[in-house]
Symmetry: D2
Subunit: 342 residues, 4 copies
């Protein structure tokens, strides 16, 4: 049986990535693609790399007949997303890629995103989309909230450690190196090739990045008490990839054992042998996350490093993985392609 | 039925690309991987991006039992390749990715490659592997010679034009812009990131690049008389991609019509509308070739531009396309993945 | 004696490059910097790499007292430039970096730029700024029109050959590879890192690039009859550099001799030995232009390759070289820094 | 008066950078350039970007008449450097760029570099070359040991803080992002463009990087008791630049005040306003170091970020700064060029 799929906001990078992935899926068919300002254009005008595909013309959202849609990916900007989703049919399965339904607490949402949430019923209904940790809930969910790409990377490194109590909860530092596609296809001066290539810098320093809302929510929930981490993202001259270098206090071997055990059966999370380090080079374009652990020379300290592709495992690949669960498909279908190297 | 596949020379980029592609193939199984100097290592030590796959350990060629192999890809350096292939079982199907069997004439081989050919029987037997133009021969072939990646790109732009007689055969200029993976995984100073990134230059200028041997052979054969083109490759700071800017004399509309007609039914060669230009960005990691035609302001001149991924359509993707034909599989199986963008 | 310098349009890349260069000039002092939309900001807010310098605050043009200015660099967009310059004091020395005064013929200007020229008196007065060929005129000029960066590169390769009559004037092809800073600091989708890095493409194909107006004007003037060249620019993933691969018909040795002789005494144009090729890597950040000549395997054909930095020799360095002449300074002052490699 | 300069090991990146910088120095003249394996070649064969300069032919070290040399830069690999320097005239002023004389303790040297030190007298005599902190000693020194580039970056961020006692000495984490030229011009697979561009990874994780020897020595000396930091370097796809993100415990305002006060009169170390972050983009090719401080959302924690160019301020620029002091020149001569951006 073929599931009919709609993608709202198909003219951005996560939209294009969804199309790339779904093209490989034997049981999904793209039935509608929306892009508000580009409605009426063909997809290959917006993304010439999809020229070989036979895709629906971009349309406005209200031109879509959702009665024929089995699942809708929503790749719209946050705030727009909640407005659109609250107006969609109440029985439509939705995977949202925006930030709008990641935070369960309306106050937390307002604190990090600045505006009051306008779709509280859906916020309440939404399941957090970090597949490996919310798998059962996602299977039964109608609305799944895709995680932040940075938030996903950090959580893969830390969740089992917090659950197992093998690290000091009050001294966790995440130093992230992020590729530029995470910022989307937006026209900002610092995203120009001439401004970005050949150099790098931190941004949102000091605990101001919005993905901290997810870390706070999830880590505190796991620990059963408030947990706050330090998190410094850096923009590096590459298109895809997030590398999280996580500094923790705890026994490196126990940390490695805990992670290895937690991910032993996971198809997409790969533990490296003790002392080996992952690289974003080796996950590019794939749904895999690689994790390594190294003991520091200072006793009682360890470095956990996680690498994934922000557009795939960090966003659209995760979304498809969740959609598979929601539609009763095998979780890994369409997602097992190898990374592109070099 | 699953075909058992061997890849000789699996530690180079074309070897890794074959593994990436075959991983998606429903009817192929990698049964053996050789790498002379790295025999005994696991593939993920050599290519960590393949860590998630369950692959045979790298071995020496003579450790492989070819009786259980249905088809062998040979991704060895030229000269080595002819020695190895002439010693393989005479009934083993082989796709060679080296330069060793591309030239039909032993003198031409010696002229361009410097050494006398040591496997003349196989040279005689080999079919030239440009699928779209040798499809029927390839179906029945035992040994197929993969083309040069530059040679493939130029031929896609020019073969139908030469056959149709719509361009001046004495005034063809190919200006190629080549990504660095075409040079392989070899340790050369000019391939270092610090030497290559942020700049670019021509190389093998003046008609000295070896792929000219293929152009001379194929174009002269098509024209029924000697044809020599000018060909200047440039090394640009990117990992994958070849862009051929081809300057020809002829009527642009006739040129576009000829190419559009020639490739109308081809699954992997995509003609752009008149006046549009392809980009290597839009074929990365895929088996597609995009071709555009533009009339110059000077009457009677046109520019034909072709773009493909040197490792996929220019090498390993082409090899798999040919292997599909040789094994009675659908030609496109395992090869329809969309390009990776961004 | 210190010359007081004003730079109009200081918030763009050519403006910043002028500041970088003038900082090294012993006899120039930056007295005023304008940037219309960023007036009131300090230069280090706009260009943090200039943080260590003590520079005037950005202002609006009409806030500048030009009576104290010895020379004004105008780095404004074309069309704006002619409006501003026609309103400046008539005795103010000006080096314009825009396209507005490059073409001597008002009709040609309108053809290539779309709008009627609004400063015909200044257009008439302006001297074309290709220093090596207009040196004497520039010394006495009040208004010098900086050349297009692509136009400069092509002319260094071709002018002496056209003058000497050693090449076929009806069959000249310039295939240019251009770095992205030539497009300025403008917010365009195709200039984003995620869109540009790791790939490349032609643009303005078929004879539509505006710098052709300069080629037509200058080459026809040199030849004493109309000369039209083919010119295809390509955008490559690098920040600085232009590489012109020029295909000509003529004797390679005569071509090399002609160029070597023409540039023998030039401080900034360096001829490479016969058969060697230049690279943009080796001129980055400098005012040097490297030129190489190679004979093709086809008798009577040669490839001339020229490399320069579009922001330095192709624009701001050229402008300073001209300003030196206009102010009676040594032509090379402030311009002899070595390229930055790697 | 012009100082005669020799550069040993001129065929590497730090050698070429010295030539680039000295070319701008009014009182220095390059009298000799050595490169063991490339002796007999001209410098422009090894570094074509220096083609415009009139430089001595590369020679072997024993071909140099050191009696005419005022100061010798030694840009040789460690271990080789100590052997060469111990054989040079005992009254020759030397700035060594290798690791050989950075560590004062022979045991520490052996621990970090693996071999016993063979030039103990010179090790004893050498002054540590971090100019801003050893200025007076360097003025009178005969042999100055240039610092590691990572070690320099971390020390600029931390030395004043350790001296002032405003941070917790037992909880300092340095997460460094390093460009590839720091690895030199060596032929290693992971330095190839195809392996490095578009991705990034940590290396020498867990406290194994040799520059830790310098941190341990200098920080413990400043603190008057053993201090050990955590230090994780990362290789990012850029050619020049080091960004140190330093996580400390202390009051952010006190930290900013301490650094601002320490560097108030320094010509090359620039403090950014509280909360602003530096970027390697803004120091490329220059001798400047930019430092920013931001308070974390977690009370009592701060992030200090320092950026410099590894080849300039981190190596050859530092070396020239020290040479100026040793020769009685103004410290900043030849070093005030602006960064290259973009």
């Amino acid at each position: 049986m073929t599931h009919k799929i709609a993608i709202l906001g198909a003219s951005g990078y996560t939209g294009a990535e969804l199309v790339r992935l779904i093209a490989e899926h034997p049981n999904m068919e793209i039935a509608a693609l929306s892009a508000d300002r580009k409605a009426g254009m063909s997809m290959d005008q917006v993304f010439p790399h999809l020229r070989h595909m036979n895709l629906p013309t971009l349309c406005k959202i209200d031109e879509i007949d959702f009665s024929g849609i089995d699942l809708c990916f929503c790749a719209l900007p946050h705030k727009t997303s909640q407005e659109v989703i609250s107006a969609l049919p109440k029985d439509l399965k939705i995977v949202d890629l925006s930030a709008d339904f990641r935070l369960r607490d309306a106050q937390a949402y307002k604190k990090w995103y600045g505006n009051a949430h306008s779709a509280l019923a859906e916020q309440d209904e939404a399941v957090y989309g970090l597949t490996e940790f919310y798998r059962e809930d996602i299977k039964g969910a109608r609305l799944v909230a895709g995680t932040g790409c940075n938030a996903a990377t950090g959580q893969y490194a830390l969740r089992p450690l917090i659950s197992a109590g093998v690290i000091d909860l009050d001294d966790i530092i995440l130093d992230l190196k992020c590729a530029v596609s995470g910022a989307g296809r937006s026209l900002k001066e610092n995203l120009l090739h001439a401004e970005l290539s050949e150099g790098y810098n931190a941004y949102a320093v000091g605990g101001t990045h919005r993905h901290l809302g997810e870390f706070d929510q999830e880590f505190s929930l796991l620990a059963g008490r408030p947990v706050q981490v330090q998190f410094t993202p850096h923009l590096v001259p590459a298109n895809r990839g997030i590398l999280a270098t996580v500094y923790v206090k705890g026994d490196a071997q126990a940390i490695h054992d805990t992670l290895a055990s937690a991910y032993a059966e996971e198809p997409f999370v790969q533990m490296l042998p003790m002392g080996e380090v992952p690289s974003t080079h080796h996950v590019r374009g794939s749904n895999y996350c690689h994790i390594g652990v190294t003991a520091d020379r200072i006793k009682g300290r360890a470095i956990v490093i996680a690498a994934l592709d922000n557009l795939t495992k960090g966003s659209s690949g995760q979304a498809l993985q969740n959609a598979n669960l929601m539609l009763g498909e095998e979780e890994t279908t369409g997602l097992k392609m190898a990374p592109l190297f070099p």
